[in-house]
């Protein structure tokens, strides 16, 4: 069943509704998704063409079980082999994929599983992405943490034992500008050993500044690599510019960041093609910038505030597991993060096979860690980006990882 994304908030005025409906219904009302906006840096890079070229020619139905078996027997997994592992023909061989993936994970990561927590510092957004709870037309409580509020949240999270934090914002350059995010990084560097960012894409110089402020990892999700579908889902705002977003990781590396992460949001388009493109995005980046560290995520669509019905279409747990095994076999050295969008049983299972990083103590709202961690609440928090499916605290997650015979790691990083 396809998703019904479009919801009209009661609070929207007539003019806003009119504009919203025009964007949704009339393609000519929308801007060219490949045209850069003013101030967006253009990189001369061939990675996008390579990734999209491979994706367009990929026909998952062409592969047979023989292709999958051959891929599993080979020591080095080629792009062709990876395509076979992602195909429907590999689904009946999932256990074999998992066995191989587990071996590869062990070789590169041993038994370690890293734990981090995300902290949403602002949820203002200038984009209209139809599937996202933060979209500018959605009626949620908007909030931007002050430095005092932020410090309070960071203290609470840090006291729980977390050492790696991922700072997130909605995509509003106006309400959460680079200077604001820089100050947040400086503050976070005092409470945490490892600071990552998941913010709107910026230019090389901005990434360089944020790195100087203490951040060293950048995550940007392309959402879907299918430009036609991308254009229909990202109707307004700078996020609409597909190529600028695509090159974000490369700009982050050029700005001095140690590592970058990428992924599609699975369920928005053909998930096999999107999974292929996500992994190839990382693959080609690694070839061009071998010194950087890389990781892949695997978010699936989740229900959001005011639209409970959103679901990941045909990406069930089996398919997600297949994708993650294929990622691991193709890119054995790459970190794989599984967020609290997934349920406990899935996360417990997948860390034994392929995942190397999980979140714990998660809230996707703004400024509500105190309430969630201590049960106390002083003021209303900002609305959530999506509903989480695994509410485990750090302590619970830590114990569960130990119970799986693995080693939870809170930090293995120094800022140099």
């Amino acid at each position: 069943m396809e998703n019904e994304f479009l919801v009209d908030a009661e609070t929207l005025g007539e003019e806003a509704l009119l504009k919203k409906h025009r964007l949704e219904r009339d393609p000519s009302a929308r801007t060219d998704p490949t045209a850069y906006m003013e101030g967006m840096e253009v990189l001369a890079s061939d990675i996008r063409d390579k990734v999209l070229g491979e994706m367009e020619s990929y026909d998952p139905s062409r592969y047979t079980q023989e292709d999958v078996r051959r891929a599993l027997q080979k020591e080095d997994c080629s792009i062709e082999d990876f395509k076979a592992l992602l195909s429907p023909a590999a689904e009946p061989l999932l256990e074999e994929l998992a066995q191989r993936a587990k071996r590869e994970t062990g070789k590169h990561f041993g038994n370690t599983v890293y734990i981090f927590t995300p902290l949403y510092i602002a949820n203002y957004c200038e984009n209209y992405c139809v599937y996202c709870g933060y979209n500018c037309y959605n009626d949620i409580v908007r909030k931007r943490l002050t430095m005092e509020e932020m410090e309070k949240e960071m203290k609470i999270i840090s006291d729980s034992g977390i050492e790696e934090i991922l700072l997130l914002t909605g995509e509003s350059r106006r309400m959460s500008d680079v200077d604001y995010i820089g100050e947040a990084c400086k503050l976070a560097a005092r409470y945490f050993r490892n600071v990552g960012l998941e913010i709107y894409p910026v230019n090389v110089e901005d990434y360089r500044y944020l790195h100087q402020c203490g951040a060293d990892y950048v995550t940007v999700f392309q959402e879907t690599y299918d430009l036609k579908q991308y254009e229909k889902l990202h109707l307004l705002g700078h996020k609409r510019v597909f190529p600028y977003r695509f090159d974000a990781q490369e700009r982050a590396i050029l700005g001095g960041m140690r590592g970058v992460a990428a992924s599609a949001l699975l369920g928005l388009s053909d998930f096999r093609k999107d999974a292929l493109a996500s992994a190839l995005h990382i693959y080609y980046l690694q070839r061009k910038y071998p010194h950087a560290e890389y990781s892949l995520s695997c978010p699936r669509l989740r229900p959001i505030a005011n639209n409970e019905g959103i679901h990941p279409v045909d990406v069930h747990e089996t398919q997600l597991c297949q994708i993650l095994c294929a990622y691991r076999i193709f890119l054995p050295y790459v970190g794989i993060t599984v967020s609290s969008r997934e349920q406990k049983h899935f996360r417990d299972g997948i860390v034994r096979i392929a995942a190397t990083k999980v979140s714990a103590g998660v809230s996707t709202g703004v400024g509500d860690h105190e309430e969630k961690y201590t049960g106390e609440q002083e003021q209303e928090g900002g609305g959530e980006q999506f509903e989480i499916a695994d509410v485990r605290s750090l302590n619970a997650m830590y114990q569960d990882i130990v119970r799986e015979g693995l080693q939870p790691v809170l930090n293995e990083y120094v800022y140099v």
């Binding site: 071998p290 809170l410 140099v416």
Partner: protein
């Protein structure tokens, strides 16, 4: 005659017992350097005991944690720490991490690891020489992880390295002595201890490197990913001891092609 043979045998045994190697003025009897990454801390102590290891490596970035279970608490006191600079991408970063290690109280030993490739984690020899120069001058006992290249090894010795640590094959690959011939050359040509590091996947491979004359073996993944970690640590210890004994005793003749000719080609010579 019998008494003399017995005496000779006793001397050999004594020689084995005092067979030590020296790093930074410290004498070690164990030739097994154990890695501490990739497996749980509770198992580290058991692994150290079973391995009989006197040196254990640990990533400085791993000690940079405030969690209750600090890895240092799990390492027995008599064991020498060999902090490594993993995470460093150039000489300057390695130097900074080494200094941090000293400040953290991890001692003066440092294993220089500089990688600019996140896929194979191969060491950058050039940057490694630069870092070794700086750190040796600051009084560190420097053990550089390196790609087995003779010129680099000589440069490292000149720079003040206490040993060289050539890789057998890529880290974590468990592929064994892929660089066998080049390590053999280092053992032959280099006067500081040659410690074979990275890629040793089985006890038999460790044994082979020791037979060749390596001073010691460093292993991590092979033990971390074993079904029974302490048992595998013990297996490595025995293999390393066996290889060392074989090296000391002088390996027997191995006939490469066919048997030895009973009619020697030089049998015609009359004087």
């Amino acid at each position: 005659m019998r008494r003399r043979r017995k005496k000779e045998k006793m001397e050999k045994v004594m020689e084995m017992e005092k067979d030590t190697f020296i790093l930074g003025g410290k004498e070690f009897t164990s030739r097994f350097i154990l890695g501490s990454g990739k497996y749980s801390m509770e198992l580290i102590r058991a692994a150290v005991e079973e391995a009989g290891a006197q040196i254990i490596t640990l990533a400085v970035r791993r000690t940079n944690t405030k969690q209750g279970e600090n890895i240092l608490d799990y390492i027995p006191e008599h064991v020498t720490l060999l902090p490594n600079t993993s995470g460093a991408r150039n000489a300057e970063e390695a130097v900074r991490i080494a200094r941090m290690s000293r400040e953290l109280g991890c001692g003066d030993f440092v294993k220089v690891e500089i990688m600019k490739d996140s896929k194979y984690l191969l060491p950058d020899n050039h940057e490694t020489v630069r870092a070794t120069e700086i750190l040796a001058a600051e009084g560190f006992v420097v053990l550089p992880y390196m790609y087995p290249d003779l010129y680099t090894a000589r440069d490292l010795v000149r720079a003040g390295a206490a040993a060289v640590m050539p890789l057998a094959s890529p880290i974590g690959s468990n592929k064994g002595l892929a660089t066998r011939e080049f390590i053999r050359i280092l053992i032959e040509e280099i006067d500081v201890p040659v410690i074979v590091d990275a890629g040793i996947g089985r006890p038999s491979q460790a044994c082979e490197a020791m037979e060749m004359g390596a001073a010691a073996i460093m292993a991590n993944t092979a033990i971390a990913t074993a079904g029974d970690i302490p048992l595998m640590a013990g297996a490595f210890r025995k293999a390393i001891e066996a290889g060392r004994a074989a090296y000391l005793s002088g390996l027997g003749r191995v006939l490469e092609r066919g048997a030895a000719a009973s009619d020697p080609l030089t049998g015609f010579l009359r004087d």
